[in-house]
């Protein structure tokens, strides 16, 4: 890998973004790469916007991704994609967005998926829309698995230079045993997207 690989995860507090960040970092370690992540805690978790950074390659210095420096932006909530456009550059950044909208408290007019798509098009040429929350809710009844589904999607579509096996091992290292099955199943279920 020549270039550092930079991932932004964005979404809303409570969606499991910190665990997802740990999983990605662990998978990078398993593949013997250097890795750095950055996250915020405290008040930022109370249902507010959450944004984490993951960077891996041979040697990583900054824990933060620079403006326009993201290779992949994964959004667990569609409106949050608008919040992280500063990390996107039209030439290089891929967006992977869950077609799921959580209205912002006190805001009467929630933007539609179409409106968000239009905006994001200004920042990226490659945008994937996946109804991850809908899919996992239907299949497991648990929307918090949307992140792991998106991660599966990214791996099987080759949007992330990490191996399937590394992620599976990382899930086991990061999560308590009782959650392994559900997460591994959800992760692999994204394989069907490969053929699409």
């Amino acid at each position: 890998m020549k270039k550092d690989f930079n991932i932004i995860l964005s979404g809303v507090g409570g969606q499991g973004i910190i665990t997802l960040t740990r999983t990605l970092a662990e998978a990078s370690l398993i593949e013997r790469r250097d890795v750095k992540t950055s996250e915020l805690h405290g008040l930022s978790q109370r249902g507010g916007s959450v944004e984490t950074h993951i960077r891996f390659n041979r040697e990583i210095y900054s824990p933060l991704i620079k403006q326009g420096g993201a290779d992949l932006i994964i959004c667990l909530e569609a409106q949050e994609a608008l919040n992280v456009c500063r990390y996107a550059s039209k030439k290089e950044t891929i967006f992977l967005i869950d077609d799921f909208i959580k209205p912002v408290f006190g805001v009467k007019q929630t933007p539609s998926s179409e409106k968000i798509k239009e905006e994001i098009k200004k920042f990226s040429k490659k945008i994937f829309w996946v109804p991850a929350t809908k899919i996992v809710e239907k299949e497991t009844g648990n929307p918090v698995l949307s992140g792991i589904y998106l991660l599966g999607y990214a791996v099987f579509k080759n949007l992330i230079p990490l191996k399937e096996n590394s992620i599976s091992r990382a899930i086991k290292n990061v999560l308590p045993k009782k959650y392994w099955d559900l997460n591994l199943k959800t992760f692999s279920s994204a394989k069907r997207e490969k053929e699409k």
Partner: protein, 559 residues
Amino acid sequence: MRILKNKGKLILLGNEAIIRGALESGVKFVSTYPGTPASEIGNTMSYIAQKAGVYFEFSTNEKVAMEAAAGASFSGLRSLVAMKNFGLNVASDFLLPLVYSGIKGGMVIVVADDPGCSSSAQSEQDSRALSLSANIPTLTPATPQECKDFTKFAFEISEKYKIPVMLQTTTRVALQSGIVSLNKIARPRKKAKFIKEPHRFVTMPPRVLEMKKEVLEKIKKIQNEYSEKSLLNKVSGGCHSSPNSKEKEVSKSSEIGIITSGVSYLYAKESLKELKLDLPVLKLAFFNPLPEEKIKRFINPPAGGLKKVLVIEELEPYLEREVERFAREVNPKLQIFGKNLLPWVGEFKPEYVTGAVAKVAEKKWGVSQPKLPVFPKRFPQLCPGCPYWFVFQGIKKAVNEREVIFGGEIGCYMLAGLPPHHLQDYLYCMGSSIGIAHGIKKTTNQKLITFVGDSSFFHAGIPALINTVYNKSNPLIIIMDNKSTAMTGHQPHPGVGKTGMGEKTTAIKIEALVRACGVRNLKIIDPINQKDFIKTVKEFLEKKEVSVIIARRPCIFVK
């Protein structure tokens, strides 16, 4: 409990790496008061303490936490105390004389600053100021690996010179994760004994002035024996090996140098990579004492040729001022850049640093500024079902919001200031809402309600309550008793009846304390009983003496 693994590599947060460093140093006593961005130190300790055989506590506040850690150190054990930036203000009353007297077992004080205030209200404090005024040796790690290594190094220095050592992190260090190589966990010394030594820990004049002299001597020694020699204060890039020492020397061809520390170092290296520049960088591990001779040699290299220096540091320009001072002496023509190119307010972003480096190097560099989308801001919210919803809702029904002043404090209930509540007219540090309320009530005839959290009340609210009662004013104080220090991650507090190690203990009753402070108008209400709550608010607002409502309903995460 992977953090207790014996060898190999782990991904750790800076905060977790500090604990690992302490365990590898044989720490036996750890205390803290929860505060982001240092909270994981307590949370992780609480989880592993029993198994690791280390005593751990969530103390009532940071001053008490530091005093407790000092007591363990006086008894010969290695101790660590952790807090966020403002915690050091609370503890500073004890910190300064503690540095004077010195300690016995190695003692490390971890302080996490929060440039940009991503998890702090109050101020954007640079705790290095307190490092200077307390004359406490201070190390500033940049990565999780350094968090571990510097913690060990801090214990070594602390015990050798019998002085507490501060480890200062910032949000992007404390909450940065990265790969950490593990070494063996040390077996802590088991026996603790306080040995009576006349006046060793008694800071009475005139001995106290001798102590100050001793501190300055210790600092000088640490400077000469560690800071000047340590390869942790290192030069990289644009330099060559020196024939006489392990140190690298700035090459003659280098006209520009960078001096930096902490996470800013990582941004500096990143910017050099991006700009394809090979400039010498002096990374300072020691903030106090600074390696003065090493800095002078860097800005006035034996080979000559250095014309410009860029100092990269977040918050206050403490390093920059020192570099200016040294340059006047050894290289007066040196051009010094720092806060003239980088922001004094808020945290750095990598591109800010790249922009500054490019400017000093006179290299063309720009980052396109596309028009970012406008989107609705997602404010943090009280969780669905949070008891505070009932308190705020009840208040709105009980009073005319425009006619009542609302005081706030630090905790989940500071969300009172955000939509949809808008019940906040002032907000400062823990305990302050009651103190300020007293001043306002003494001088005006306006109605006033203050909100204070249960943990905050124990932390710093009690002296203010006593003052209010004793000096006869009459605010309505609502103690938001949710049985948890919720915002920082649901740590227990003295009202909970469970210690940091998970043991049962006597729960301190808030109502008993309030009564003992002389409050006669007191009511404990579950705010879900809106009728009772609203009626009591109305009634208490008319009282001539202080009144207190304990709004008691556990946080939804308390099991």
